[in-house]
Assembly symmetry: C2
Homo-oligomer: 254 residues x 2
Amino acid sequence: MTRRSLATAVLAAAATAGTGAHAGPPPPARGKERIALLVYPGFTALDLFGPHNMLSGLLPEKLDLVARTPEPVTTDTGVKILPSATFADIAPGLDVLFVPGGTKGTLAAMQDDATRAFVARHGETARYVTSVCTGSLILGAAGLLRGYRATSHWVTREILPEFGAEPVEARVVVDRNRVTGAGVSAGLDLGLTLVGLLRDPGYAQRVQLVAEYDPHPPFDAGTPAKAPADVTADMRAMFAPFAAEARKVAQALK
Amino acid sequence: MTRRSLATAVLAAAATAGTGAHAGPPPPARGKERIALLVYPGFTALDLFGPHNMLSGLLPEKLDLVARTPEPVTTDTGVKILPSATFADIAPGLDVLFVPGGTKGTLAAMQDDATRAFVARHGETARYVTSVCTGSLILGAAGLLRGYRATSHWVTREILPEFGAEPVEARVVVDRNRVTGAGVSAGLDLGLTLVGLLRDPGYAQRVQLVAEYDPHPPFDAGTPAKAPADVTADMRAMFAPFAAEARKVAQALK
């Protein structure tokens, strides 16, 4: 992603749109953060675009979608997204390394040497090492969760001990510089948490207001404990084969 | 998007992953819905990927990202996304027509004849005509909100009367077959609302549990009323030029 495209990010675009450069306050100062969000075949788009939205509010110096190769990456629902960088383009010392989750594609990424090496290498030098959903399994596979408290999608949370991590049932878990989120939609909470850590609560509140992040889910079935028993039983059964396969992959990587 | 890529959507992928086709229950039945989500230069990715995630849970027959041309579409933060269809590919009688918002790009889309004509044409025959954020300005520009109650991002909600709509301060507004959401992150609530309307509450609860949609924002500044006064004043001032420009565009289209 270029400086130019970042300069058109939501906040600045709005501040400078249309009625002349002198109407309204000056656009906010550009940030100095360098951020890399991993994309890989089969990742879940919302895992990524929740954090991406909040982190874009920093107007960071770099906010890359980084993939192993420059070709379009296809998500688990068939959306094709172009990476802005490949592994070789990313310099060490990131402010944020982020890894989204998925299902089959995540298991493949865990077993891909180049992907694991990239995540391990940048995990050593990044200021914050972060994930949403089953992305924490990739952090674990790269050896980055040993001795850390962490979370994951409820389907895979109990697999984290295979990587030496202590599983925590929470929306977002911050343990030193490891920041992990629960399933899929937890990326919005994780992204806003990161904005607060990288800047300050006042800045995070501004980003929250721009995203109008005042959630009102029309149903209250967002966790296995809150959902009706039959809903939870159905989804547990549906994901049991995936959870078993994920555990097998984790054990084989030890 | 092909049948094949849909068959690998989250639910089905998880149900059939790894440990053999006979482990666990059969994957859920594929839906019959045909859904088109508009993408245009400068749209906001999270506006789209909230609804997209929830609607993907229907495993619909078609879930297209539709653009005027087949080239990659660049979001307001520089992400390049490949459309799966162009305007000519979409047959009438959609189950859901969805329009995301943005800032400058949304004003350009409102003024683009081909985009307005596409939205107006499918708005006449779609089962649900929907938007998130400033996407409702595009619905309005296409003449689809005349006489309807609707919402938008808080920055632009009071512009809706320019299109003959009655603005409502709510997360999601359902008026007959018009379903509009508030700013950016309201797409998750809108998407889940649509899943409930297209299927039933039990199905929507299953989709909510898979997305682990149990939001816990780390701050409580998601609306102008909830945010600290200085935060709201800052953001109102920052977006005032954009709101003024959006109103001018709306008036010029009358």
